[in-house]
């Protein structure tokens, strides 16, 4: 049988880093093929190549036995490839029918053919086995319904290869199950489906075959009938690269922060206790609500539950948290973590400018002198404290972001994905900073989707899934497999 999609030796490099190293992938018509791997394993690069957004450096691609060059989104569409991206592209002010036909409205010499538009939209929804009111405003619908709009839109072009990138990460359990049923049916109709998902139970449930990507290479593949989740996890995490997790000796003291059913909107409630000198890791997959829970705790988003800090009621607003010497580092460094166009000195000292002011007048000189000291301490590689922080590498930016909390004198650090987009060398330095903070009696909560980091850095760890938080245990009692399994188990 001629495969619908046949990739051979696909390679892509970005500068010195290899995103894809000779990946082979074969998908047949009527097959659901799951692509799994940790963040940064190369899944998104592979999708971008298939969508024609980036060109591969080496390797061949063939669709139905015909060679395909790629590197052209329009050609990808013409070749029958449709991608449903993780970030939804919905025009909230337009109707459901308009969104399904977005950019491809039926027309007669410029006049919109409303009846035809509604018929096309209804037909696409019918093919999905769903029914949405065609004239409702798309912005008023829930994430599950918006996801349906996107898939209906992808179906308009009668795709032969349908790529779904984490289609269920923003869906409730029922919506996710309905969607997976729909995916199966599309495959039965002869579409070749590539499903990217973090949810292994989902993968085993719906896919026929799977491929594990790790560090840009396809390390294992097989059929789901003779595979279990543990096998997939072993392939996903079984890395050979021994990474340095410098451990600074420290001891755990009394409880300082107690979370009692802290809950972000639509997310599971989280209760835990953080002790002095503790580095507590929360492992979770994308979509489990790690970031949302942390933001709700810090008062950035509305949420429920209560927390106690040093035995007294915990603050509810970010400013009050800072006054009580607790700081948060956002996972979104560019969006809200740093002022990229402001100087390193401004970014480091932003929360405690009063130390450099007299009667409201800021002394830029003293601010920069202090910043220079911190740059030295944190090992930030830069020219000058006046340099815009956006000019630094990701690792050095992250050192500045965490350094802001240390400069503030924070006892409790809430770190959301502290090493995302950071190279291995800078990672080790960040781990050392966190360890030294713990040795000085400070406490840290690290939220991460990177298993080795949780196990190598933290004293205690728990897994957060869609169902809630697992018990917090010392890391010695966890392995990568059990922690990953716990994240999936709590999803039940």
């Amino acid at each position: 049988m001629i495969p619908r999609l046949d990739l051979r030796g696909l390679t892509k490099r970005y500068g010195a880093t290899t995103a894809l190293a000779g990946v082979d992938l074969t998908v047949h018509p009527g097959e659901v093929h799951a692509l799994v791997g940790e963040n940064g394993a190369g899944k998104s690069t592979l999708i971008k190549i298939l969508a024609g957004v980036v060109a591969p450096d080496a390797g061949t691609m063939a669709i139905d036995g015909r060679p395909w060059a790629g590197a052209d989104p329009a050609a990808a569409r013409a070749a029958g490839i449709a991608v449903v991206h993780q970030e939804l592209a919905i025009a909230p002010d337009l109707s459901v029918a308009d969104n399904i036909c977005l950019g491809r409205w039926p027309a007669a010499s410029g006049w919109l053919r409303r009846g035809e538009r509604d018929r096309i939209a209804a037909e696409a929804l019918f093919r999905l086995g769903h029914d949405l009111p065609l004239h409702r405003r798309a912005g008023n619908l829930g994430p599950g319904e918006r996801q349906l709009i996107e898939i209906s839109r992808a179906l308009l072009s009668a795709p032969r290869i349908l790529i779904l990138d984490e289609p269920t990460s923003s869906l409730t359990r029922e919506d996710a199950e309905r969607l997976l049923g729909t995916i199966r049916r599309l495959a039965r109709e002869g579409v070749a489906v590539i499903l990217i998902s973090h949810y292994l139970e989902e993968v085993l449930d719906v896919a026929d075959r799977w491929t594990v990507l790790r560090d840009g290479a396809a390390v294992a593949r097989g059929a789901t009938t003779d595979t279990d989740a543990a096998t997939l996890v072993r392939h996903m995490v079984g890395r050979s690269v021994a990474e340095a997790y410098p451990r600074v000796p420290h001891t755990l003291g009394d409880p300082v922060l107690v979370l009692d059913r802290i809950q972000a909107a639509g997310r599971p409630a989280v209760s835990l206790t953080l002790r002095a000198g503790e580095i507590l890791g929360i492992f979770g997959l994308v979509g489990a609500g790690r970031t949302e829970t942390l933001r709700a705790l810090f008062g950035l988003d509305p949420g429920g539950g209560s927390a106690r800090l040093d035995g007294a009621a915990a603050p509810r607003r970010p400013a009050a948290w800072w006054r009580r010497a607790c700081g948060l580092v956002s996972e979104d460094r560019k969006g809200e973590g740093l002022w990229l166009d402001r100087s390193i000195a401004d970014n480091l000292t932003a929360t405690r400018l009063g130390a450099y002011a007299r009667g409201g007048w800021l002394s830029g000189g003293r601010q920069r002198t202090a910043a220079a000291g911190w740059i030295e301490r944190l090992g930030v590689r830069c020219r000058d404290p006046r340099q815009p922080v956006g000019a630094l590498s990701g690792g050095n930016q992250q050192k500045v972001a965490i350094g802001r909390l240390l400069h503030h004198g924070c006892r409790i650090l809430l770190l959301d994905e502290p090493t995302r987009g950071v190279d291995i060398g800078a990672k080790a330095e960040i781990y050392r900073m966190i360890g030294e903070h713990a040795a000085a009696g400070g406490s840290t909560i690290v939220v991460s989707s990177y298993l080795p980091e949780i196990l190598g850095l933290c004293d205690t760890a728990a897994a957060l899934g869609r169902g809630g938080l697992s018990p917090v245990r010392p890391v010695a009692e966890w392995t990568e497999t059990t922690l990953c399994a716990a994240a999936l188990e709590t999803a039940r």
Partner: protein, 347 residues
């Protein structure tokens, strides 16, 4: 939001500006007295609203597409001057006449019927320039049109030679005047006696509504304003849509310029200062969001009427002009606050 509440919200969205207009008129009727709804006064209000309303029709297209045009007041002045140049008498071409005098002489030599097309064309050209600068330089519409506001005002003064351009063209001025011979106020058919420009506005609004609601271009305008990234992903040529929006808007501003010349019976380069804010306010009061993606032509026309009536009412009450200005300012803030309240909880 459940479907029933959504339907209610949609009805309120559509009817909101009209309800607000009725409330304002009712309150004024009580305070001012029967004069407010006399035919003569209604005709006054309509004639006063017509320039802002014409501009608001064009501005709706731009705002729905996620843009803004601060230059429209200056463009109206420029187009009024050019319109007057076509209708005016040619300047004396002495031996030391520059190229500008020759250009003005050429304009004045054009047949009178081209005056309005020239004004509209000038508006379209400025709109095309605005749109091209915004998409070509990837600049914020606010910045580009702020610059254009100064440039077009300067161009208007330059084209008018820093004077007002006089002309004698009853055909044009009659656009903004009540038809002659005057008919009895009380007659049942008195309503047809409004200035022709009001009727033309009605036709323009219907045309623009059809464009926005019933054509593919209309869908594209809403899609670009609602989520530009999604529009691009789905193959809509976003720059082309934006440039088109500014050109359509420019055409309306050109026509509004011709009406301005008709009302003043001269081409005055210093007219319509600050009018861009009235026009934008009319669109917002009419239910559009400054963020783009929502708004209707009908709403914008009603918004212009509402503000004209507020002005007219406070005039009849003998309030000082500054009171009117404060009232209008309050109305804009109230309209936007109401809009926020109506939209809370929406994506």
């Amino acid at each position: 939001m459940n479907p029933a509440r959504e339907r209610l919200a949609r009805i309120l969205d559509a009817a909101g500006p009209i309800i607000a207009l009725l409330v304002v008129v009712a309150v004024l009727r009580v305070t001012v007295g029967p004069d407010l709804l006399g035919w003569r006064n209604i005709q006054n209000v309509l004639t006063q609203a017509v320039i802002v309303a014409t501009g608001a029709v064009g501005m709706t297209v731009i705002i729905v597409a996620g843009g803004i045009d601060l230059s429209c007041g200056a463009v109206i002045a420029l187009c009024a001057v050019l319109c007057a140049r076509v209708l005016g008498t040619p300047p004396e071409l002495g031996p030391d006449a520059g190229p500008m005098a020759a250009w003005w002489a050429w304009l004045a030599g054009l047949p009178d019927w081209t005056a309005i097309p020239v004004a509209v064309l000038a508006g379209v050209l400025v709109g095309l320039l605005n749109g091209s600068l915004i998409t070509g330089l990837r600049q914020l519409p606010f910045i580009v049109t702020l610059g254009m506001m100064g440039a077009a005002r300067g161009a208007a003064k330059w084209q008018a030679d820093e004077r007002t351009v006089t002309f004698d063209a009853p055909a044009l001025t009659s656009l903004m005047a009540r038809p002659r011979p005057p008919m009895a106020d009380a007659a049942w058919w008195a309503w047809v006696q409004v200035a022709p420009a009001v009727w033309i506005l009605l036709g323009l609004a219907v045309l623009a509504s059809l464009l926005m609601q019933a054509t593919v271009l209309g869908r594209q305008l809403y899609a670009v304003g609602s989520n530009e990234a999604a529009a691009r992903l789905c193959g809509i040529r976003v720059p082309w849509v934006k440039i088109t929006a500014y050109a359509i808007g420019g055409a309306c501003f050109g026509w509004a310029g011709a009406l301005s010349a008709a009302r003043l019976a001269v081409g005055d380069p210093t007219t319509a200062v600050g009018l861009e804010l009235d026009i934008i306010a009319a669109v917002i009061v009419g239910g559009a969001s400054l963020g783009g993606g929502t708004g209707t032509v009908a709403g914008a026309v009603v918004g212009a009427l509402l503000m004209a009536w507020l002005r007219n009412g406070s005039l009849l009450l003998g309030w000082a002009p500054y009171t009117q200005e404060m009232l209008i300012g309050g109305a804009i803030v109230a309209a936007v606050a109401l809009d926020r309240w109506r939209r809370r909880g929406r994506a």
